[in-house]
């Protein structure tokens, strides 16, 4: 049976979402997309010069990709809502990644404002993917608010620290019916695989690919890791034992009577 990820009524084959920030040269982005077999790609609307004469970031993204404009730079729900509407009006489609950050020190998302923005935008017909600090009650509120997926962070944005919030993300995966997309913090393909093995629906990777020595090769590496992790999850990984299992059981003699 084919394995699809369905978000907002769209069936996705690829579970590696990409970001477009931090690339030294934007012209590499098409090759990164190709190497990642990417379908969903996020773009900071703050950096798109709509109506400008300059070639903008959207010109580097194939029309076949699903654009996920993000509200980076928004400090509260009102700003996020305005950015999302602007994105839709400028022809970026109706998907939006809500990113509300009122803390420039750690760049941690403001869950409360995120829920508010999600509720408003979902009602307006957006496919809303909120970026959040993993918290079960907030995730439930996001489901109520009409989110299409939930995107908990693995570690603070740009840190490449890996899946530090693993236990909290695991609870979201177990309890939330929506797809859980691990966003931010994933620094290595092995960490992406780890998230997928746990049952994450997808991962979003930007910094680790954009700042790699070779972004195209790194995109391919992530693509393979995400596929491997997904396949492992679907095949059911063996139970992890606390102790080595002796090949000659100590209680074997009980059966011989």
């Amino acid at each position: 049976m084919a394995d699809f990820l369905e978000i907002g009524g769209v069936r996705l084959k690829n579970r590696l979402f990409l970001g477009t920030g931090k690339f030294p040269d934007r012209s590499v982005i098409p090759r990164v997309i190709e190497a990642a077999e990417n379908e969903v790609i996020t773009v900071a609307l703050r950096r798109v010069d709509i109506g400008g004469k300059e070639k903008n970031i959207l010109d580097y993204i194939p029309k076949t990709n699903i654009l996920l404009p993000n509200t980076s730079g928004a400090r509260n729900s009102e700003e996020a809502v305005r950015i999302a509407r602007l994105a839709r009006e400028s022809g970026c489609g109706n998907w939006v990644k809500i990113e509300v950050i009122s803390d420039n020190k750690y760049l941690l998302p403001d869950n409360y404002e995120t829920v508010k923005a999600t509720e408003i935008l979902a009602k307006e017909g957006f496919v809303v993917l909120p970026y959040m600090s993993p918290d079960l009650m907030v995730a439930k509120a996001l489901v109520e608010a009409g989110a299409a997926a939930v995107m908990p962070l693995g570690a603070p944005i740009g840190t490449n620290r890996g899946l530090k919030t693993k236990e909290l993300v695991r609870i979201l995966i177990d309890e939330i019916k929506l797809p859980i997309v691990v966003d931010a913090g994933i620094g290595k393909p092995s960490e992406a695989a780890e998230a997928m093995e746990m049952g994450a629906a997808a991962v979003l990777v930007n910094t680790a690919i954009a700042t790699a020595g070779d972004s195209v090769d790194m995109a391919e590496a992530f693509n393979l890791a995400v596929k491997a992790g997904r396949k492992a999850f679907l095949s059911g990984t063996g139970a992890v034992n606390e102790y080595a299992e002796a090949s000659s059981p100590l209680t074997g003699f009980l059966n011989s009577f």
Partner: protein, 367 residues
């Protein structure tokens, strides 16, 4: 607690003694840390840390790429007027200097805006001297209203305002404040500013706080390196930036590190800051605040700027004129200071690409 109170707690510390006591092993320990405090910043500004420039530079480069990517945001200044009521010993706009004084009309502002917008830039910094009569807040507000049709982000570098006045300019469309304390040394500040409203040290020092209270999105502070001992001014600039970031978590906080340049007044700086020292200041601040914006102006020459890009810079000016009307008028007056890097926006973009960096013309949209 205002930053003035924090400054007052620190100002009489025996800095020279403290710096002399910093050992090589202390510097090495700081270089291993991921989260630095004020003592660590002090250590990185010490003479001992001057021997670790390469290590500091490597770490600064790593942190900058991690948090910002190989990306430089470009902007340009637009001088609206050069009337000034201040007598500051080191400045070309000093009231006593016999330069042609000028103020752009709104039509001229629009012509300047068109000329700059043609280059593709979407971030603008507008400047005036300090003259509330010739360039009142209402004039600056009118200019901002014209400019917001051409630019997505507008910063102001003008005289310090009250919180209400900052609120007025924010409502008109300004979203960034740049204000330099020049020197954090209160006594020296008094000696350098002979006459005029700028003599009020505290009103200027607390201006960024008032702007923050008014919800200014971006706040850029800094010392004019060369006026006082650079280690001290760099230390206080770091404290100031950290104070602002703590108090206004939503704000994007940056520092500029301008060094004194030759200008019409002929005042010569008493503490020349050489390139090694400038690198020490920049990298120390990056290690202290990994997400801090660092602005590098065209006071520095092209070659040095190109080399500093990898050490922590996140914003640079390009296509600069420091004269009123310098972008669109054939006979613009004297500039505030001499420019060392004369490159146009297009040349700057080309240079960045060649260095493996992405030039960013738009990084924010005031909505």
């Amino acid at each position: 607690m205002s930053f003035y109170q924090q400054y007052s707690k620190y100002k009489n510390l025996p800095f020279d003694e403290m710096w002399a006591k910093v050992t090589a092993s202390r510097v090495e320990r700081v270089l291993q840390k991921t989260s630095l405090n004020e003592d660590d910043l002090l250590a990185l500004l010490s003479p001992a840390a001057g021997e670790y420039l390469e290590e500091m530079a490597q770490k600064s480069h790593r942190l900058t790429v991690q948090h910002f990517g190989k990306v430089i945001q470009l902007y340009t200044p637009m001088y609206l007027a050069n009337y000034c009521e201040n007598e500051c010993l080191y400045c070309g706009f000093n009231l006593k200097n016999r330069i042609r004084r000028n103020k752009l009309t709104l039509e001229e502002v629009e012509a300047e805006a068109q000329a700059i917008a043609e280059t593709g830039l979407r971030h603008l910094l507008i400047l005036t001297g300090e003259a509330r009569n010739s360039t009142p807040v209402s004039y600056i507000r009118d200019c901002v209203e014209v400019l917001r049709r051409y630019f997505t982000a507008i910063s102001i570098e003008i005289y310090p305002l009250t919180q209400e006045e900052y609120g007025e300019l924010i409502a008109a469309g300004a979203d960034g404040l740049t204000i330099y304390q020049e020197t954090y040394n209160e006594e020296l500040y008094d000696q350098l500013h002979l006459r005029g409203p700028k003599k009020d040290y505290r009103f200027r020092l607390e201006a960024p706080e008032r702007a923050g209270e008014a919800k200014m999105r971006a706040i850029n502070v800094g010392p004019l390196l060369g006026l006082d001992d650079w280690r001290r001014d760099a230390f206080f600039a770091g404290l100031h930036a950290a104070y602002l970031q703590e108090r206004f978590l939503e704000a994007e906080v940056s520092v500029s590190l301008p060094r004194m340049r030759p200008h019409a007044g002929g005042y010569q700086p008493s503490h020349l800051v050489n390139d090694r020292e400038l690198v020490q200041v920049m990298t120390a601040l990056r290690l202290f605040m990994p997400r801090l914006g660092i602005t590098m102006s065209t006071r520095e020459n092209a070659n040095l700027r190109d080399n500093l890009i990898r050490l922590g810079v996140t914003k640079m000016s390009a296509g600069v004129s420091t004269s009123v009307g310098g972008h669109s008028q054939e006979e613009a007056g004297e500039g505030q200071f001499e420019i060392s890097d004369q490159r146009s926006v297009e040349e700057m973009r080309e240079a960045l690409r060649w260095l493996g960096y992405q030039p960013i013309l738009k990084d924010w949209q005031n909505i």
